[in-house]
């Protein structure tokens, strides 16, 4: 066994290398969380495009507030929901830089709705990565704007009732209607094939920024096994059965 381990470590047997844009910091995310996978994909895209020194990321408030500990690029940490406002100014004042925001559903689709819509409507040259797991993770599992009808959360313990709690919001479909967006897609990272498709989408969003034709928007439907109170495998299954019918995967806009 020891011999086998030594053999694996040899450079000629290397089949996958951690992106140089990912730091060695241990991620704080729960096992099964989608954040780590999406972080890795962004890091790989930045490395492959060779834009580490030209990229500025904007971190949200929520579970991924500490994304700046994991990706070795310059970062600004925004107030809750305001990442697109920061991104707007960064992109306008440094048009030679690749700017992206990374936001969860509470951040992007509740408290930051105005900033999201107006940045996309103005067509700010930036990438927006939207992690939608239908729940507030960091604050402990409260109802999100994207929580499905009937889905339980700590502030709708008997399931979301549209009569009293309102309806889940399809922010991605909304921004796709705005003239300022040039690429709008919804992906997931629950299978190896889905991870590859999401990476392709993120790469395309970053490449699109070279055209200076507006905002590129990538939603990643994600799991929150702690908030959903399910193990990672069941979370993925639940997501496929419940989230995907309401939030269907695929490109919504590509111009």
């Amino acid at each position: 066994m020891a011999e086998l381990l030594e053999d694996i470590k040899k450079p000629e047997n290397l089949v996958h290398k951690k992106s140089s844009v990912l730091t060695d910091n241990v991620m704080h995310y729960c096992p099964g969380c989608s954040h780590g996978v999406v972080h890795k994909l962004i890091a790989e895209v930045i490395e492959e495009m060779g834009i580490q020194d030209k990229t500025v990321g904007v971190a949200p408030v929520g579970c991924s507030v500490f994304i700046y500990n994991y990706l070795d690029i310059d970062w600004q940490e925004a107030a809750h929901g305001r990442a697109p406002a920061l991104g707007t100014a960064i992109s306008r004042l440094r048009p030679d830089r690749f700017v992206f925001t990374y936001q969860g559903d509470g951040d992007l689709a509740a408290i930051g709705t105005a900033e999201t819509i107006h940045a996309c409507n103005r067509g700010e040259n930036m990438v927006m990565i939207f992690i939608n797991n239908g729940i507030y993770g960091m604050t402990g599992g409260q109802m999100a704007p994207t929580t499905l009808e009937g889905m339980k959360a700590s502030t709708c313990p008997f399931g979301r009732d549209p009569k009293t709690d309102g309806n889940p919001l399809k922010m991605t479909e909304i921004v796709a209607q705005l003239p300022g967006t040039n690429f709008v897609t919804r992906q997931a990272v629950h299978t190896a094939a889905a991870v590859r498709r999401t990476k392709k989408a993120i790469r395309k969003a970053f490449e699109k920024q070279k055209e200076k034709t507006g905002t590129s928007f990538v939603e990643v439907v994600s799991t929150c096994n702690s908030g959903w109170k399910m193990n990672p495998v069941d979370s993925n299954k639940w997501m496929e059965e419940n989230m995907f019918p309401f939030y269907p995967l695929g490109d919504i806009k590509d111009v």
């Binding site: 970062w75 960064i90 004042l93």
Partner: protein, 360 residues
């Protein structure tokens, strides 16, 4: 070359912003300061200096655009009036916490609530005591003329970048709307991206191989570390208090009575002093130019030889508390104010001083 022009205080802000090399203005319309952005849009500085001017979707967005721009090491500013400035308080707290320089101009109108569009000075507390959540301070400059509206733009940026702290010009509807002659400084160059990267090693200019990544943030979950950070902020504030107090004195040498007033109220009070001096009363004026840091030491010095101090403010009495703290009971301190958008006359101020400090 400098240029002598006649214009409104709000317009002077816009002209001075372009000329001192501001990189970006982000704002939202509100009376009585909309001329700032209107003038900028008319002047089209993006074609001359490359300055970005953007009408944002709200004051909340504006202040967060300042965060993003300042985080890149750029000279960024906004202007608004009282209700809009209230909306910016969260952003200002974040910027103070992330130690980001910027300029916010408040052309104050009467409150609370939607209030009135007429001049007022009732945002003093909000400006000098922090305004948002947490222990922090803004550097607050109070112009009393259109000339100072123009001059304080560059001064605010200098102080903001020197201390990596947000600065505010606390004006009011009167200074913003009135027209006076103003000498405008010649056009200065904006910093290049290379200069920014060199001068501001903390800015998010893009992580190069020769340095660690820069992170602009105000979050620190370790209480001990966060206390240390707060101590560092406080040390910075003490340094500002020591070095950056600015004020003007008129006729204080022989004064028995002192009026303390800033901005519009100082203009009115200087006329009141003339009325009172004609009556044989020895009255002087201390005009704080920086409201924070406040001229506390100078007031302490003066208090020993004074018979009374009158704080004249277009508020129900806010700065008067800082004067009382400064003199610590050594001398009687009274307040006179008109508020809700009412501007007092010099006669009213003179009468108030006689009534409140001398009696009868």
């Amino acid at each position: 070359m400098s240029e002598l022009r006649l214009m409104k205080g709000n317009e002077a802000i816009a002209e001075a912003a372009i000329r001192c090399g501001t990189d970006g203005y982000f704002g939202y319309p509100i009376t009585p300061q909309s001329e700032v952005m209107e003038r900028l849009m008319e002047l089209r500085p993006w074609e001359s200096t490359g300055m970005v001017v953007l009408q944002a979707e709200s004051e909340v967005a504006s202040i967060n655009m300042l965060y993003g721009g300042a985080g890149c090491g750029k000279r960024v500013m906004t202007s608004s009036s009282s209700p809009g400035i209230s909306l910016m308080q969260e952003g200002l707290s974040y910027m103070a916490g992330a130690e980001l320089p910027c300029l916010v101009v408040n052309v104050v109108r009467g409150g609370p609530g939607l209030g009135t569009i007429q001049p007022s000075q009732s945002d003093y507390f909000q400006s000098v005591k922090g305004g948002g959540h947490g222990d922090y301070k803004l550097i607050v400059l109070a112009p009393a003329s259109v000339q100072e509206m123009a001059d304080f733009v560059e001064l605010s940026f200098d102080l903001a970048f020197k201390y990596r702290n947000p600065a505010m010009i606390l004006s009011d509807g009167m200074i913003g709307q009135m027209m006076e002659k103003v000498e405008l400084k010649p056009q200065q160059k904006r910093w290049t991206d290379e200069e920014v990267a060199q001068m501001h090693s903390w800015a998010t200019t893009g992580k190069t191989a020769d340095r660690d990544r820069n992170i602009i943030t105000s979050v620190e979950l370790d209480s001990e570390a966060h206390e240390q950070f707060n101590n560092r902020l406080q040390a910075k504030y003490r340094e500002i208090e020591e070095h950056e107090v600015r004020f003007e004195e008129i006729d204080t040498d022989d004064a028995d009575y002192l009026i303390v007033a800033y901005g519009s109220s100082a203009r009115i009070s200087s006329a009141a002093i003339e009325i009172l001096r004609e009556k044989g009363l020895k009255v002087g004026l201390l005009r704080p130019i920086t409201l924070w840091p406040f001229p506390t030491s100078r007031l302490q010095e003066l208090s020993g030889k004074l018979k009374g101090i009158l704080s004249v403010e277009m508020s129900s009495g806010q700065m008067v508390e800082d004067i009382r703290l400064a003199v610590n009971g050594k001398v009687k301190v009274e307040h006179f104010g008109r508020y809700g958008g009412v501007v007092p006359s010099p006669d009213e101020v003179a009468d108030a001083l006689e009534q409140k400090l001398i009696g009868g």
